[in-house]
């Protein structure tokens, strides 16, 4: 029998793959110069030392994690880059190269507008479709999963997605609610009944739309992959190898909606807990599968509804944290580095979330008190952040530098810190972003 790798060995293997990037066919991506190759590896090792907390990196690493900022910075609109993938690539490359942070988060955020049109995506409004061309996309909250559908989700999450949820959020997929129950396809007797739906014109139309959407997604992915490959070849690694979510947010953000899940806490707490338990392995699989495919260990997890002020401490500890913790531990076990982004404030939560294995997670911190974060969560986890969005927009470079230096001295003490912005932003003054990056380079060295 093949020897089972330990979780540390799996993580090491992923870090090694990250250090030697390959294209989708498995060929090594050539660097543009030996210096670029060296810089690429030095940057990953800087991040890795900060995350693993076994030794201090050479200096505090720095990241700039924008939302649509690169687009505005390049004089374009969100509509431009969601419909013209060359523009998308140009904007995000320019952004990464002009500011020269250690790692970038790629050009994935603005998705392919035409694909959303083909699929008639209802969950979001995007530039030109419900919001202005100059605006970023925004979520249309709703109860896409009804209050009485928990059992259906719990019994068969994938079936619920394919036959119920996806047909609701993508208009073009509506006919797929007629899809057969796949575990019923068992033996020759009666097997043909299961294929009848595929002969019905609306279902065939839905598949045609899916094929067109796939073709558009491929075009877009070519551009996005090209950005990552080129930045990599110039020495700039991408941070994230994939994405997953806290089970509470998975259900609360896009299935039940904020109002729905908040009411469920009181109206059907057992069902909610049961559903989160049922989807926990799927959320682990989502992150692990992506890391295996991309060969990059860091898995991004935006955290939403567990922030200070959203839930009582009792509800946080009962409904939000246990399943999130299980996802984090499952990712760690498979060799990943979970990267939760604690959006909003997390001051009241640090004492709860701090008990994680040391040196295995990376937490992006938004508006929390970083000194407190360092004393609690920061004892076991690498922290990343927390220059405020408002300061990047309205502050002066000296102000940003002073704030960043203070972060380096407090949160950066002894390692385990990556300097960066706290929340994904659309607006900022370029001088302020420069000031943030420079501060890490000028004042971030560990003696």
């Amino acid at each position: 029998m093949e020897k089972q790798l330990s979780s540390d060995e799996k993580r090491e293997a992923l870090f090694q793959r990250w250090l030697s990037p390959k294209d989708p066919l498995g060929n090594a991506i050539p660097f543009q110069s030996p210096e670029a190759e060296q810089a690429y590896q030095a940057r990953i090792n800087r991040i890795r030392d900060a995350v693993q907390m076994e030794k201090t990196p050479d200096r505090v690493p720095v990241i700039v994690a924008p939302s649509f900022y690169p687009v505005y910075y390049s004089g374009m609109t969100p509509h431009d880059v969601m419909y013209d993938y060359d523009k998308l690539a140009t904007a995000f490359k320019k952004f990464a190269l002009d500011f020269g942070a250690d790692v970038h988060i790629g050009a994935t955020a603005p998705g392919p507008g035409k694909m959303y049109e083909i699929l008639d995506y209802k969950l979001y409004s995007w530039p030109g479709h419900g919001v202005a061309p100059e605006s970023s996309y925004q979520c249309n909250e709703g109860e896409y999963m009804k209050a009485d559908e928990y059992d259906a989700l719990i019994q068969d999450p994938s079936g619920y997605f394919s036959n119920v949820y996806l047909p609701r959020v993508f208009g073009a997929m509506a006919p797929l609610q007629m899809l057969p129950f796949l575990p019923g396809i068992l033996e020759i007797y009666g097997v043909a009944y299961n294929f009848i739906p595929f002969g019905i014109p609306p279902v065939q139309g839905a598949y045609k739309a899916l094929m067109e959407a796939g073709a558009e997604a491929l075009k877009w992915a070519g551009a996005v992959g090209g950005v990552a490959a080129e930045l990599g070849s110039l020495g700039y690694p991408a941070l994230w190898g994939g994405f997953t979510k806290a089970p509470f947010d998975m259900i609360g953000d896009t299935l039940r909606g904020t109002k729905g899940i908040m009411l469920d806490i009181y109206r059907q707490p057992k069902k909610l807990l049961e559903a989160m338990e049922a989807i926990t392995p799927l959320m682990i699989k989502l992150g692990v599968g992506a890391a295996q495919m991309t060969g990059q260990p860091v898995i991004f997890m935006p955290l939403h509804k567990g922030a200070d002020g959203f839930l009582s401490q009792e509800h946080f500890e009962k409904f939000y944290w246990p399943s999130l913790k299980n996802v984090i531990l499952g990712l760690i076990e498979a060799g990943c580095v979970p990267n939760p982004a604690a959006e909003g404030g997390y001051n009241s939560r640090f004492d709860v979330v701090k008990d994680l294995p040391k040196g295995k997670t990376l937490w992006m911190i938004d508006q929390s008190d970083m000194a407190k974060a360092k004393e609690t969560l920061g004892q076991n986890a690498c922290l990343m952040g927390n220059i405020p969005s408002s300061m990047l927009s309205f502050g002066k470079p000296e102000e940003v530098k002073a704030y960043a230096r203070n972060l380096i001295e407090t949160a950066g003490k002894g390692g385990g810190f990556i300097l960066g912005n706290g929340a994904f932003f659309d607006q900022a003054q370029p001088e302020n972003i420069k000031a943030m990056v420079e501060t890490a380079k000028e004042h971030g060295a560990y003696k």
Partner: protein, 207 residues
Amino acid sequence: MNPLVEAITEMREEDAVRLAQEELRTGTSPAEVMDHCREAMAIIGQRFEAGDCFVPELILAGEILRQISDVVKPHLTQATETKKIGRVVIGTVKGDIHDIGKDIVAFMLDANGFEVKDLGVDVPDVKFVEAVQEFQPQVVGLSGFLTLAYEPMKNTIKALRDAGFAGKIMIGGGEMDEQVRQFTDADAYGKDAVAAVSLAKQWVGVA
């Protein structure tokens, strides 16, 4: 404590609705039933302020209140409606379609005795100006979740001032703070629904 007030504040939804129906049936006046609801909301507001009450409780209390007022409204006459303590126009600024925070603030203002005109989301300057001229509020509340809301907030405030609005303007939402307030020229920034209510009360002189 009155059993209805107690049921609402303890988040016992079914009991609360049943008790409201029972009060009506046993001769409590509709206005008094609504007073009990207001009393409960004041307690929930205090708990929210003290950090003992959060979003699920506000949303559930809102749902309970809606169900009770559906029961009570048919029995209410114009005369029994209580006097409002002030008028507020509220909305999410142009380009931003987020509504949860704004809805909570509108709900808390309403529960605290304000007459609230909610303009919804993605509201252009001119709609704010029209609403202010028509509704004559003492307070305008601008909501926005994204950094993209900074400019539209500033523009809306300028449009309101240019149109002669002399009342108070407050802003709030995910990426807002004192630095954004200065940029937009708002009178105040409120970090949550409780802050919004206390600002509004202070401005209409009932705090």
